[in-house]
């Protein structure tokens, strides 16, 4: 269940094919223990200098939260990683919608889960998959995300080669 720290070994580009995905498929779960470093590193990586993402005193007394908390753009980066861990590098995100329900704090074990809700091929021939994903703490959803990602329909297909009229995200 818990994810080991990332291994530095080379990653072989996997190619999750559109035809191998079915509605109801679950994405591999990702659990990650959040620390103050996770929050601050994420805030700085996203260039979000606002104090509630690095200053506990401000977060508690101004925002009324129990600690500093993960910022939204960094959560987007977490969701992207969660999806592309599953698809491999040929997976190309089309859109993501986030709904923030609660905050994620140092000390939380955040758990990402996802399920395929739809698969289809659009009128340009691009294979797409919709997924409902969430990050929870103690099974309490903190952010929900609906994402759509393009996947290759054949071994020769590459969604990244699409642009203009052939890319309708």
């Amino acid at each position: 269940m818990t994810t080991a720290p990332s291994t530095p070994t080379a990653v072989t580009p996997a190619r999750l094919l559109h035809g191998s995905v079915a509605v109801g498929d679950a994405l591999p779960e990702l659990a990650y223990p959040v620390t103050a470093t996770t929050v601050v590193l994420g805030a700085l990586a996203a260039r979000d200098w606002r104090p509630m993402h690095h200053d506990k005193d401000f977060a508690v007394h101004r925002n009324g939260t129990r600690d500093i908390f993960l910022n939204t753009p960094n959560q987007a980066a977490w969701f992207e990683r969660f999806v592309t861990d599953w698809t491999g590098p040929y997976g190309r995100l089309q859109r993501m919608t986030f709904r923030m329900l609660g905050s994620i704090f140092p000390g939380d074990l955040m758990v990402f889960r996802g399920v395929v809700t739809e698969t289809g091929v659009d009128d340009t021939g691009c294979g797409c998959v919709a997924v409902d994903i969430s990050v929870s703490v103690d099974d309490d959803p903190k952010t929900n995300c609906k994402a759509r990602v393009a996947l290759p329909v054949t071994e020769d297909d590459n969604p990244w080669s699409r642009s203009g009229d052939r890319w309708k995200p």
Partner: protein, 179 residues
């Protein structure tokens, strides 16, 4: 109440505002910092050969698109702190709503963003709700689109934000109650 009323805000619906260029080009270092912060091992961002084969060269993670527009915390000669999503702050100030949270956020990804790109944005206010009361306080919801284009004018992303600006319900001295 405040200098700008809701009628003035409505005149801004659908209007492109605050066209601006990012303060710096898209850079590889921030790509690695971001991937590192979420332990994203996608070889597109770490292996030049994979990036060349799949995306025709290095790209930035699509979800980073707003990162390239967050102003430096300080810059020489600047007298005021720049604010990303200025329309959001205009609404807070104009409507007299000192607090705000973002509730919904949609990003649609178009052409890939690449290191060296100079991106520009424009902000478009799409809607402002009537006054509503939530557990946070009383205020209004609004939706703001941010369009991102590269130096060639190609659309790279459209981000839609739903914000809620509000006044805290603490006037009755109940702020200690929730601990």
């Amino acid at each position: 109440m405040s200098a700008i009323g809701i009628d003035d805000i409505e005149g801004l619906l659908g209007v492109e505002q605050y066209e601006e260029e990012g303060e710096f080009p898209v850079e590889q270092g921030y790509v690695w910092t971001t991937c590192s912060s979420v332990e994203n091992g996608n070889p597109l961002f770490w292996d030049e050969e994979v990036a060349e084969a799949i995306t025709g060269g290095p790209i930035a993670p699509p979800t980073m698109v707003s990162v390239w527009f967050r102003p430096h915390h300080w810059a020489p000669g600047r007298t005021t702190q720049g604010l990303p999503l200025q329309v959001h702050f205009d609404l807070k100030e104009g409507l007299g709503l000192p607090e705000a949270v973002m509730s919904d956020n949609t990003i649609v990804f178009h052409d890939p963003v690449r290191p060296g790109d100079r991106l520009s944005t424009r902000q478009i206010l799409r809607s402002v709700s009537d006054e509503k009361t939530t557990k946070l306080g009383t205020g209004r919801f609004w939706v703001i689109d941010v369009e991102y284009r590269n130096q060639r004018g190609d659309l790279v992303a459209v981000e839609s934000y739903t914000g809620f600006g509000y006044r805290r319900a603490e006037a009755a001295g109940t702020e200690e109650d929730n601990s």
